[in-house]
Amino acid sequence: MDDNLLDVVMARLYDKPLDARATDYLLAACEGGESLAARLRDQGGPVTETAPARAEPRPTIAYLRSITVAGFRGIGPEKKLELEPGPGLTLIVGRNGSGKSSFAEGLEILLTGTVRRWNGRPVAWHEGWRNLHDPVKAKVAADLLIEGAGEATAERHWDSKAKLSESQATLQVNHGKRTTLDQLDWHEALTRYRPFLSHSELETFIGGPSQLYDLLASVLGLEDLAAAEKRLTAARKAGEDGLREVSKDLPPLLEKLASVDDGRASACWRALSGTDRDLQQAYSLAAGAEIVEADSQVQRLRQWSQLAAPEEPEVAKAAAALRAAARDLAAPVTSAVAVVGLLREALAHYGRHGAGDCPVCGAPGAMDDSWRERTENQVRSLGDEEARALDARATGEDAARNARALFWPAPEFLRTPAVGAADPLRAWQAWSSWTRIPQGNEAADLRQLADHLHRRWQPLHDELSALRISAERELHARADRWAPVAVEVSDWCARAIAAKAAADAVPALSAAITWLRSATDEIRNDRLTPISEQAAAIWSRLRQESNVDLGPIRLSGSGTRRQVDLRVTVDNEPGAALSVMSQGELNALALSIFLPQSTLKESPFRFLVIDDPVQAMDPFKVDGLARVLDDVAKTRQVLVFTHDDRLTTAVRQLGLPARVLKVAREPGSVIEVSESLSPVEGYLDDARSLCRDPNVRAAVREHVVPGLLRLAVEAAFTEAARRRLLRTMTHAEAEDQIAAASKLAAKAALALAPKPGQSVYGALKRWDQLAADTYDKLNNSAHHGYFDPDGLIDDVTSLITTIRQRAR
């Protein structure tokens, strides 16, 4: 959206706030379709920064210096129509068939690539575009005077066999490299400020309410708002329709889910059926996220598939350790340990009670000093044996502990029903047998444990492997059935989630649409006001019946109901515009709207081309038209092509400063163009006419004729000044300088740009002594003795010729 428009929208948002979410959507829609889509996807995020609007290149501003046509329509050999660049009215007059319209259409096709009034005509019309007398070369060209760039030539030509649509268009600025015509960047402006109006277009101009609407709407440059509205409306429609569309696809999906024998499918089915759908859960199920509660079967299969018996080497190592420990736990060692304990106790008893009888066998005096000595030696010798025995016991206990670590209880998930071909029962049994381990740490126990390891490991390993393989198989089979359905489910869920978000956005979108519509209406009518006022002013000068008044023009409605409200009052009673108007009035109305539209200050075209505006026009109105055109021509280069001389007559009678070019066609489509009137010529004409009138006394002539001649020379200098200034400065600056030069001498200086120290007289004298003298005479209006008006007119005519030829 262009910056200006965005500023207007922002300012209005400030005045008429909209809730945050709707504002968010509105601004995103103004930014573009992608922004809006992003905003709709991402609800809660911060408002995106408005992307800086693209810098719109300013289209080229230009006047026309000439139009050249060859081998096109009524024009055979190449003919150039020389024009005076700058504001002013030029009438190009010629009978029907003189080729004048070929210049108008040539310019139009040069710039737009087509001629609008040919659209919808029979094919023959399109095919007969080449001139019969010069069918080989076809070309249209225009010399332009481009603001800030100087001179340029736009050209479009056709190869000898090419169709109308098969042309090449080029642009050459200041005799530089040829580029394409697009360089002018006039594409958009050509629709918006269309500088062409032909008679037949006058009719289609008001052909239908929507046509006129589109034309005016395009001038106002509100397409961006319309586009934003379209985006919002589309988003709202998607929001409204989305859930319905998505819901349509659910029943078949549920059916499919029901047919898949898979816990995930049934979990999805449960999540998606019924009124209280859990989209998120179905989505994560389908996406393969954790599903523990959702499907114990798959979970069990996964658990089964991960089971393994202890590693065989580990088991073998444990069994070997057990057997080795059992061997070391020998019986004598064991009794030796017991005897040592008993003898230590006896020695302790002897230490406490002294010599005496044996407390065990009762032998009298058995425990004496010699017994003690003997026994202490025996205990010392048996101690080593005892240590060895304790060592063997500890080793046996370690081996048993290590071996028992290989047993853990059978997991509960083996005590569950089979899933498909995977049955955990035998694995469970094997595992149960495996864990029924012998207790005790004696040598026999250890041997038994080693035997248990040896016997029970193999069946456990075999059963677990079998279960693992069957569980894996079952899992793969299920994945093959489930995967495609899962994709469908996740697709559908994603759509449903988006649709739900879109549906949630509908109220905010509606608010944004309502706001934007009313804003568009108001902005549009604000922008239309200046056009509407100008149209009313022009209409008041062109209207044919005083009882029809043109009020404000309003655009209303949108889409197929868009229309232009032309508020017309008939004898101060409101009436419907088009129905009460005559053909001539409709033409006048169309002109009233066309002129303000094509002369908006935003338009890059400093020229406008009107083809045959006076047809069907009441002759009395031609005077009004001439004055309207004269008005427009104060700021625009107005080219009017006309087939009769009513406009010329009006221009002459009213003494308007216009140029009149006569176009005539000779045999062989040879075109002749001659100037029959110009602002310069007009003053000279007046002067000559005054001299010829015998009833005008010499004194009056002496007073009036020099003034008229001064005006004629001023006009010639103005033309020359404009040609010179427009090359180097903006059109507005050039016009300012020209307007500021009110006196003849100032205008002459602008036109001739004398070098420092040189006078205008001096500059002229370099070219022509007589011209310099004539200029001098005009500038010093004091009388110089005998006054010869006819002679002065001749001298001035030659001065003007010099200016026109030399000051280029």
Partner: protein, 128 residues
């Protein structure tokens, strides 16, 4: 009975009366008569203007075009009024004549033209 020619203001009053008059006559005829009266006021005022200077005395006998050309000079540079008068004169002349194809100007337009002439009539001949 001698008739004094009507002065320009009297002619303009007559033109206005004619326009606003009873519809006994057709509108076309009344418009033409009103246009004629207004043009006469304009031309008579021109003659007065020419008579006010020795230099231009008798210019009233010259062609309408000559007079309109000179008007620019003798209105002391009031180019705009000169242009308006030129338009009014052309328009009134057209309106005086009955053309088979032509339409008479509307009442409102004639009023505008009469007002233009009235501005000219009210303007002093020479600047004080």
């Amino acid at each position: 009975m001698t008739r004094t020619p009507l002065t320009p203001p009297e002619l303009l009053d007559a033109a206005r009366e004619m326009l606003a008059g009873a519809p006994a006559r057709g509108l076309g005829e009344r418009s033409r008569i009103a246009a004629f009266l207004a043009r006469q006021a304009l031309e008579r005022r021109l003659t007065e203007l020419w008579s006010s200077r020795q230099e231009t005395a008798g210019l009233g006998r010259s062609s309408g075009r000559s007079q309109l050309i000179c008007l620019r000079t003798y209105l002391n540079g009031d180019v705009e009024l000169a242009q308006e008068i030129r338009y009014a004169w052309v328009a009134l002349s057209n309106a005086c004549h009955y053309h088979a194809y032509d339409l008479t100007p509307t009442t409102a337009e004639l009023s505008d033209l009469i007002n233009t002439v009235a501005r000219f009539v009210a303007r002093p001949s020479r600047r004080p």
